[in-house]
Symmetry: C2
């Protein structure tokens, strides 16, 4: 009995968008889905009940951060990550590969392992593929990501190929290191902005038969068009009967463009981080709450939005940010996550009804963005 199961319900008639369900040991996830980011065993600014009330079914934690603090053995001894943070639903943990990029000045990569100098206290953390899996098994997440080698772009062709090949070798080592039957591993396709390399990598990893596949190493500074071009190349060779997860992406429009190309799963700090910085996502595009235009505006951010922020006026939300009240970040985080989840509810419905391309273009229009061409 595999730890997870991917149930494909329907493919949109006018695009590659897929409606499916991802079954995990902690319950099902309706795909396409967006995972709020809970790097340090907490989705910033929200209680787990509030996270759940946005509609989120699955969240993300981070291997590197949790291994450093509080330490995976503390979490294991306290019953695992689900119990530690009080989240009963599915959890995916990233492997630390992304921190090779985001904390590059503190890391050194050899074939054996990545070595980090802790951003907290300077102590060394050696993260081999085997150790990345051991940590994630201690955390007890439903999905563990393989350790991948993420590099900054643009980079030399050789460096990109080298990191891509290492990612494949590390994926194989991760697979062999697995000991828990209640945890699935997802492999990660790398290859920079080189479509041929991406396709080759996808094929290599597909041969290793993982229960899920991710596209990594994007959203690292390239343009949206470059990212979509890579998705055009990499989605078709990714196994059709496995979930496809686009890591660290993205804006609402990125999600729609990626779903249209066959992506099922996302995570991104954007809704939470932007919420803390007074930016609200709405169907008319982003609102910046510190702007004086909102000073006496009695309207909610969005009509008919069920979130905690939309019980208040824009004027009140603006006041909270100007007065430096924590409640401002709390409420806007709840709004933005609710916005993302409602967008995905709509996307799933549109796929089921074979009208995803129209759904997509309708939203791009409302956001004052160029509509997508045909695939």
């Amino acid at each position: 009995m595999p730890a997870v199961r991917f149930e494909l319900h329907h493919i949109d008639a006018g695009s590659a968008a897929r409606r499916s369900t991802f079954h995990t040991p902690h319950g099902p996830v309706d795909l396409p889905a967006f995972m709020p980011v809970g790097t340090q065993a907490a989705v910033k600014a929200l209680t787990v009940d509030q996270v759940r009330s946005t509609g989120a079914q699955m969240i993300l934690g981070n291997t590197y951060h949790l291994a450093l603090r509080p330490g995976e053995e503390v979490i294991r001894d306290l019953g695992g990550l689900h119990r530690f943070m009080g989240w009963g639903g599915p959890i995916l943990t990233d492997s630390g590969g992304f921190q090779l990029y985001s904390l590059a000045q503190n890391t050194k990569v050899t074939e054996q392992a990545a070595v980090f100098r802790s951003h907290i206290d300077g102590r060394l953390l050696e993260l081999s593929p085997e150790r990345a899996i051991a940590i994630q098994e201690a955390l007890g997440s439903d999905v563990a990501m393989v350790l991948d080698h993420v590099i900054a772009l643009p980079a030399e062709g050789d460096a990109i190929r080298d990191a891509c090949e290492r990612t494949i070798r590390w994926a194989d080592r991760c697979r062999k290191a697995a000991t828990r039957s209640d945890q699935a591993q997802f492999a990660i396709v790398q290859g920079g902005l080189n479509p041929d390399l991406r396709v080759w990598c996808a094929h290599q990893l597909a041969d290793l038969d993982f229960p899920g596949y991710a596209v990594g190493g994007l959203s690292v500074g390239e343009s949206p068009a470059e990212m979509y071009r890579i998705l055009d190349a990499v989605c078709p060779p990714m196994p059709a009967h496995k979930p496809r997860y686009l890591m660290g992406v993205g804006t609402p429009q990125d999600l729609l463009h990626a779903i249209r190309r066959g992506i099922d799963l996302f995570d991104c700090v954007l809704p939470t981080r932007n919420g803390r910085n007074a930016m609200a996502f709405t169907d008319s595009g982003p609102l910046r709450l510190r702007n004086s235009i909102h000073q006496r505006d009695d309207r909610p951010l969005e009509e008919n939005c069920p979130c905690l922020a939309c019980r208040h006026s824009r004027a009140y939300l603006r006041h909270l940010f100007l007065a430096d009240e924590m409640l401002g970040p709390i409420l806007l985080t709840h709004h933005n996550l609710t916005y993302y989840q409602r967008l995905l509810v709509g996307a799933r419905q549109a796929i089921a009804e074979n009208r995803f391309a129209g759904f997509c273009n309708e939203h791009l229009c409302r956001w004052h963005l160029p509509v997508a061409g045909s695939l």
Copy 2:
């Protein structure tokens, strides 16, 4: 029909503790009660639903802070403070008198008015008794506090007497400035640590026949014993059929000592501020969550506490503070306010059952504090 009504149910057989209900235009408040502090139209770190779920019935806002930001006319135009912040229950607004003490370096007091230099942008705010009432009427609070003259202690006898006499004259001016029939004013007894002056002030203000009375100018650096001595002096001459409010106080033990002397109402930043600083109130005394003793402690802060923090382990709460996650302050704020409200539920029950002195001493024992002598 007066805006508020004080319904005295019972006086404890063994102390001066009173069980009563305070009826306001926005509903009843069971007394003795503790008001969470929402200075800037928000109880720091909590949504209004979370504030309500702690058991709080009435909260506090601040005239000085709200007049500066967002401005009382903004709040008035948006339907008043209750609607602005989404709190449907009773609200009491402090007058700005306390800021004469806490922001003393930016203030000048004449017989006509206090003049503040804004701590935000340096602009001048003239707060006369009439203006303090006009602002509070624009805010639409259920209870407006008169403008009082709070000074730092210790101070010269003449300075204390002068501020006390001015407070009485200002109270009279506030009363005459009132135009709203749905807002009650509370007068404030001043007089420093001089019991005779306090008693004289209480008598003078009683003659002005306010619907409620407060004890102000305490919790400004004096010892608990000095504060209790003043309460011993000032409670008896305060009108028995009006609510008695001890401003800005205090610790859990302060509340019990004051209730025992006949105080009905409190506000204090302690549970919220200490919560943000990783200190939790419990029946065994305060816990400092950053302490390494909690690293692997699977117990909640308090058994059987219904708050949001007590769904988690002490180890998790400690992790949140070490990882600088906003959720730490959020959860501990909710716990501490819940702790205060539960303490007052117990106090009210004990008064009704004529066992308040025992209740009081039992708690002081658990907190490892000296028990109170007889009154």
